[in-house]
C-alpha cells in the first residue's frame, strides 16, 4: 500500500513537471491583442508620416497634385482597413476562448494583409525618386510592423 502511494506521488510530481512545460504554450489572447494593437498604433503613425511626406512633396512641387491625391486616396483605403482591423481586435477580446475566436483572428490577419499591400500600391503614382525613396522607406517600416503583427497572431490564437 505504501509502495503504491509512493508510486502515485512520484508519478504525479513528475507529471506536474512535464505537464507545466506542456501548458507553457497556453495562449493569452488579451496580451496578443494588446501587442497587436500597440504595433497597429505604430503602423498607423507610419501611414500618417507617409501622408505628411506626400503633402510636403506636393507643396514643394516635387510631385503633381493629382498624383498626391491618388496617394492620399489610397492611404484613406489603408486607414479604413486599419479601422476594420481594430474592430476585429475589439471583437476578439469579447469572443476569446469561444469557437468564434479562430474566424475572427483570420479576419484580423486578412485586414492587416490588405493594409500592407495597399500601402505599397500607394507608392505607384509617385514618380519623383527622392519622394519615392522617402516614402518607400516609411512603407517598409510599416510593412515590417504588419509582418510582426501577423507573426504574433498566427500560431498563437489559432
Amino acid at each position: 500500500m505504501r509502495l503504491r502511494l509512493t508510486g502515485i506521488l512520484l508519478t504525479l510530481v513528475f507529471g506536474l513537471c512535464v505537464g507545466s512545460s506542456a501548458c507553457a504554450g497556453n495562449k493569452d489572447v488579451n496580451t496578443i491583442v494588446k501587442n497587436t494593437a500597440d504595433y497597429g498604433t505604430t503602423l498607423i503613425k507610419g501611414v500618417g508620416a507617409t501622408a505628411q511626406a506626400v503633402a510636403a512633396a506636393e507643396a514643394s512641387g516635387a510631385i503633381p497634385r493629382d498624383n498626391a491625391r491618388a496617394v492620399m486616396t489610397t492611404l484613406q483605403g489603408v486607414t479604413a482597413k486599419a479601422k476594420e482591423a481594430a474592430s476585429y481586435m475589439d471583437l476578439l477580446l469579447k469572443v476569446q476562448g469561444t469557437p468564434e475566436a479562430g474566424p475572427v483572428a483570420d479576419k484580423l490577419v486578412a485586414a492587416l494583409d490588405v493594409v500592407n499591400s495597399e500601402l505599397f500600391k500607394a507608392l505607384v503614382p509617385i514618380k519623383d525618386d527622392v519622394t519615392r525613396t522617402q516614402i518607400s522607406g516609411l512603407a517598409a517600416e510599416v510593412s515590417k510592423t504588419v509582418l510582426i503583427i501577423n507573426r504574433e497572431i498566427i500560431g498563437r490564437i489559432k
Binding site: G7, G19, N30, K34, G48, Q76, K83
Partner: protein, 89 residues
C-alpha cells in the same frame, strides 16, 4: 538468495507500477496546471490584462481617427487639378 529474489521481484513490480502510471501522471499534471491557469485566468489577472488590451485598442482607434482626419482635410483642401471622372469631363 530467496530473499534477494523476493526483494528484486518487489522492486521490479514497483518500477513497473511507476512506469505504468507515468502517462497518467503526465496527463493529470497537465490537467491540473491547466485548471490552475484557468482559475488565474478568470481572476483579477484576467481583468487587468483585458483592460490593458482594450486601452491599447482604443489608442489604436484614436490614432486611426487622427490620420483619417488629416487625409480627409487634405483631400478637401487640395482639389484635383482637372475633372476626376469621365462624367465631370
Amino acid at each position: 538468495m530467496a530473499d534477494i529474489n523476493a526483494q528484486l521481484e518487489k522492486y521490479t513490480k514497483a518500477l513497473g507500477l511507476i512506469n505504468g502510471m507515468i502517462p497518467i501522471g503526465v496527463e493529470l499534471g497537465a490537467e491540473i496546471v491547466g485548471l490552475i491557469k484557468g482559475a488565474i485566468h478568470h481572476g483579477d489577472v484576467k481583468k487587468e490584462t483585458v483592460e490593458a488590451a482594450l486601452a491599447s485598442v482604443r489608442t489604436f482607434q484614436s490614432a486611426i481617427g487622427d490620420v483619417d482626419a488629416f487625409l480627409s482635410t487634405w483631400l478637401e483642401t487640395h482639389p484635383a487639378s482637372g475633372p476626376e471622372s469621365p462624367s465631370e469631363r
